[in-house]
């Protein structure tokens, strides 16, 4: 018997980069997060080889869930070829051997910064949202231990007051992205800085969403078929961005969330933010046989 016979060959890193103890902690915290929807679970949050604030929370969740059978999609602001998305995708495939894709329909894990894809996600897909600031109460209470107590007491009065003040001052609710939303009637969460356009997609969704903030060391979840209700007053309805009437100048797609591209002539063009949806539309236009899934929005209106 020799020593080498008793041990595994030395490797630079564990499978999926994180070691077994880190993955175990994350699995436990994810299970807790699913059990208490919208409630922030603190976790140790290991340092990973990308900078904090660049998707380390999402990365740790994805690294824990990944296995070679998965197909992973990574998007930043809706685009697969955005530089940081490219960097994260390269890292994930490098440490896991999983396949990668740009197509939402093919992906089993989708790590995203600031967008939910336009095609409806299925029960066998998991959406992992990168979160810069997990605390919806931060604007009214920067101290995290006090905010934690407020969540425990469901003390959201100051959130409502903030909403009211916005209406008084600006004539409308001024929350842009990261619109605070009540999950399962109990915890207010920030859905991460996704546009208001995307928040209704999380309500009673078929897929599991895990939101993870690596720098702030918190993760939380929206399990499948869970209510996600943006905070609104009964007489002031929730408004998504007025993008329903816009047309993508490249793909011709209409009725989806758009990027505004300022032009030298003083005007602006729009391109569809979910970049691969646009690519598929272009390829379909070229006569290619490309499948597009059902989308949450039809003609700019959210389906029921």
């Amino acid at each position: 018997m020799s020593l080498t016979g008793l041990t595994r060959p030395w490797k630079d890193f564990s499978y999926g980069f994180l070691d077994a103890s880190a993955k175990r902690e994350l699995r436990r915290k994810m299970l807790k997060a699913v059990a208490v929807p919208g409630c922030q679970m603190p976790y140790a949050s290991r340092e990973v080889p990308i900078a904090r604030g660049w998707g380390t929370g999402g990365l740790q969740v994805t690294c824990t869930l990944l296995n070679p059978g998965h197909t992973v999609k990574v998007i930043d602001q809706g685009a697969d070829d955005s530089v940081n998305a490219a960097s994260i995708r390269r890292f994930l495939t490098r440490v896991s051997g999983a396949r990668s894709t740009w197509d939402t329909l093919e992906a089993s894990l989708i790590q995203s910064r600031h967008r939910v894809p336009e095609e409806i996600l299925r029960e066998d897909q998991i959406l992992i949202l990168q979160v810069p600031n997990p605390e919806p109460l931060r604007p009214v209470e920067p101290n995290m231990s006090v905010a934690r107590q407020m969540h425990a007491d469901a003390d959201y009065g100051r959130m409502w007051l903030q909403l009211y003040e916005q209406i008084v001052r600006s004539g409308r609710v001024m929350f842009g992205a990261a619109y605070p939303s009540l999950v399962h009637g109990r915890y207010v969460m920030t859905p991460s800085p996704i546009p208001r356009w995307d928040v209704p997609k999380l309500n009673m969704a078929r897929h599991l969403t895990i939101l993870s903030a690596g720098r702030e060391k918190r993760l939380y979840a929206v399990p499948p078929y869970t209510r996600v209700e943006p905070l609104v007053f009964d007489d002031v309805p929730y408004k998504v961005e007025e993008h329903g009437h816009l047309t993508c100048y490249r793909s011709g797609l209409k009725g989806f969330f758009m990027n505004e591209i300022p032009q030298e002539d003083g005007g602006a063009l729009h391109e569809v933010s979910d970049s691969h949806l646009g690519i598929k539309a272009i390829r379909q236009g070229d006569g290619e046989d490309v499948a597009t899934g059902d989308t949450w929005y039809t003609n700019g209106e959210m389906g029921q």
Binding site: P42, E47, A51, G78, A86, S145, R196
Partner: protein, 354 residues
Amino acid sequence: MAYVATRGGERAIDQAERLYRSLMGDIDAQRVAEIEAALPLLIDRLMGESSLYAPELAALALAQSGGDLYEAILLMRAWRTTQPRLQVAEPVQQGQTFTHRRISAAFKDIPGGQILGPTLDYSHRLLETGVLGGAPYRPDPVEPAARPAPARHPSLAEWQKAQGLVHDVQTEPVDKDKIPDLTREPLLFPAKRAHSLQSLARADTGGVLALGYSAMRGYGNAHPTVNELRLSEADLRVRHPRGTVFSAGRVRTSQAEVVTTKGKGALQVGFCATFGWNEMKCIAGATLDLNAPGAAKNSPVNEEFFLYHTEPVEASGFCIHFKLPHYVTFQSALDNLRAAKAKAEAPAKEEADA
């Protein structure tokens, strides 16, 4: 596929990285060895903020990052993530460390003596420009004292405890394997004492200095007096599977105790220790620790405030993340702004619609 070609994506980030690395050129073992030999204090600071005592790796991280300290810390911390925790070493006792420098500003002389050790404190800060003209700078050799300083020094606080000047806090003995570990548990507040000290030990020197300095200038209640500042080498004592405890090597450590007389009948003590020799961080960190009890929420000397904001990897990472595209968030806010503006300009129509 004109749609795709408009963005650089993978090729662009690859080439951008090559451009940066071309600034440093080839890295070989000799360069790493030179960095380790030439910059011991920078290596110490890096090891402290990385909470990873590995001078050779620290030198390699500096070589790879071209001296960008925050990049180097991240390299070290990410490496640390991959390493198994084999064992918790035996506790280090102050009086047992091999002490190179130990001074007190509180008394003219102290038991064991004031030992200056290595310091630039009293040097004249003049550039040796002759080096650039081809004349190497050779520091004068150290002349040993007739009577060597003792290798081990008692803690001054022990003397103060005996005098009744410092409260002897009774602590429950904790099994060393049960000491909370910040790198494996989240930091929550009110923080466990172990977590606070561990956070300070790996905190950003510049950040601790800035907040500590604000406390010294008057944004804290307590003015610090350096009770004891100590640079030592501590034996890393680990247990062999057979049960014998042995030294696996020495690590450089620094620690500072600062005190204030503002208190009820006894000196209040603030403490900070870190890997490597880094006096400034320990004095500033101990000042923050001294001011923390009872500090107002959201003040710079509130523990939650200074521990969150002096975490080098988190602070630097978040700061540079603002370089990432934020156009979706921006678009969403812009939509609000335009709608609010339109509403303000046409209030009459809105009311008529309603």
